[in-house]
C-alpha cells in the first residue's frame, strides 16, 4: 500500500479482482473498501465491467455440429 490508501487500492484493484493478492493485502483492501465510499463505488464499477465483458464474450453461440465437423476434418486428414 502507498501512503494514500485510495491510490493503493487503485493500483491493486485489478490484482484483487484477479485474486492474486496475499491474505494480508486482501484484508487491507477490504478494510479500506468497507470505509471509503469513493473506492467502493469504483470497485463495484470495475467488478461489473469485468462481469459484463465476460458475459458478453462467453455468450457467443458455438456453431451447431462443430465437434462433428472437427472429427470429420481430422479423419479426412489422418496420416496426411
Amino acid at each position: 500500500m502507498t501512503l494514500d490508501p485510495c491510490l493503493g487500492v487503485e493500483s491493486q484493484l485489478q490484482s484483487y479482482l484477479d485474486r492474486q493478492l496475499t491474505a494480508g493485502e486482501v484484508t487491507l483492501i477490504e478494510r479500506h473498501l468497507g470505509s471509503c465510499a469513493y473506492c467502493r463505488e469504483r470497485y463495484h464499477f470495475e467488478a461489473k465491467l469485468r462481469d459484463t465483458v465476460k458475459t458478453v464474450c462467453c455468450g457467443d453461440p458455438v456453431p451447431d455440429g462443430l465437434v462433428e465437423r472437427v472429427r470429420l476434418h481430422c479423419r479426412g486428414h489422418a496420416g496426411a
Binding site: E10, S11, L13, Q14, D18, Q20, R42, H44, F45, E46, K48, L49, R50, T52, V53, K54, V56, C57, C58, G59, D60, V62, P63, L66, V67, R69, V70, R71, H73, C74, H77, A78
Partner: protein, 198 residues
C-alpha cells in the same frame, strides 16, 4: 535368423491396441474443450469462419502430436497453446501482427471518469446500456498482443501461469500485457459509450 516369436508378435499387437485406446481416449477428452477453444479463437480472430478453421487446425495438430501431451497436465492449456500458434501462423500469412501501443498513462478509472464527466446516467447503467456488439468491437480494437492475454485470462479463465506457458513468456509479461490490455479496452469502451450516449 529365427522368426520373431509368436509371443513378441502378440505383445506388440496388444501394445498397439493399448495405444489405439489411449489415442481414442485422448481425442474424446480433447474434444470436450472445443467450445472453450472456439470462443477463444473467435475473440482472437474476430470471425466465426476463421474461428472454426482455427479450431479444426488445432485439433488436427493436437491429434497428430498427441504423444507430446503429458497425461495429467492441463489439457485445455496444451490445446490453447496449439490454437494460439495456429492463430499466429494465420496472422503471419495475412501479415497483421500487433503494433505495441502504450496505454500506461491512463488512470485505472479512465472509463469510470469518462462516464462521470459525460454526466446523466450512473456509470453502471451505461455498462448495462452498452450493446454486446460495442463490447465485442472494443475488445477487437485492443492490439493483438494485449488482446490475446485478455482473452486467455478474462474469457478463457486461464491462470496467469497457464497464460504465460501458452504464450511462452514470463509471468511478469502476462501481467503487464493484461494491465495494458485492460486499459486499452477501457479507452475503446469510453469512445463507444460517448458515440452512443443517451
Amino acid at each position: 535368423m529365427a522368426d520373431p516369436s509368436p509371443e513378441t508378435d502378440q505383445h506388440s499387437a496388444s501394445d498397439r491396441a493399448a495405444e489405439a485406446r489411449d489415442r481414442v481416449h485422448f481425442e474424446e477428452e480433447a474434444l470436450t474443450h472445443a467450445d472453450q477453444l472456439y470462443r477463444i479463437a473467435l475473440r482472437l480472430s474476430g470471425s466465426p469462419q476463421t474461428a472454426e478453421e482455427l479450431v479444426q487446425e488445432t485439433y488436427l495438430r493436437a491429434f497428430r502430436g498427441w504423444r507430446g501431451y503429458r497425461p495429467g497436465s492441463n489439457l485445455a492449456a496444451w490445446l490453447a497453446t496449439i490454437l494460439r500458434n495456429a492463430f499466429l501462423d494465420e496472422a503471419r500469412k495475412q501479415s497483421r501482427r500487433p503494433a505495441q501501443e502504450s496505454y500506461e498513462d491512463t488512470s485505472e478509472y479512465y472509463l469510470y471518469n469518462q462516464l462521470a464527466e459525460s454526466g446523466g446516467e450512473p456509470q453502471e447503467a451505461v455498462l448495462n446500456r452498452l450493446a454486446g456488439s460495442a463490447i465485442v468491437d472494443s475488445l477487437a480494437d485492443v492490439p493483438p498482443a494485449f488482446r490475446e492475454v485478455l482473452v486467455l485470462v478474462d474469457i478463457g479463465e486461464f491462470s496467469y501461469q497457464d497464460a504465460a506457458d501458452i504464450l511462452g513468456v514470463p509471468i511478469g509479461t502476462v501481467m503487464s500485457r493484461l494491465h495494458r490490455g485492460r486499459r486499452a479496452l477501457k479507452q475503446s469502451l469510453a469512445a463507444r459509450a460517448a458515440e452512443g450516449g443517451p
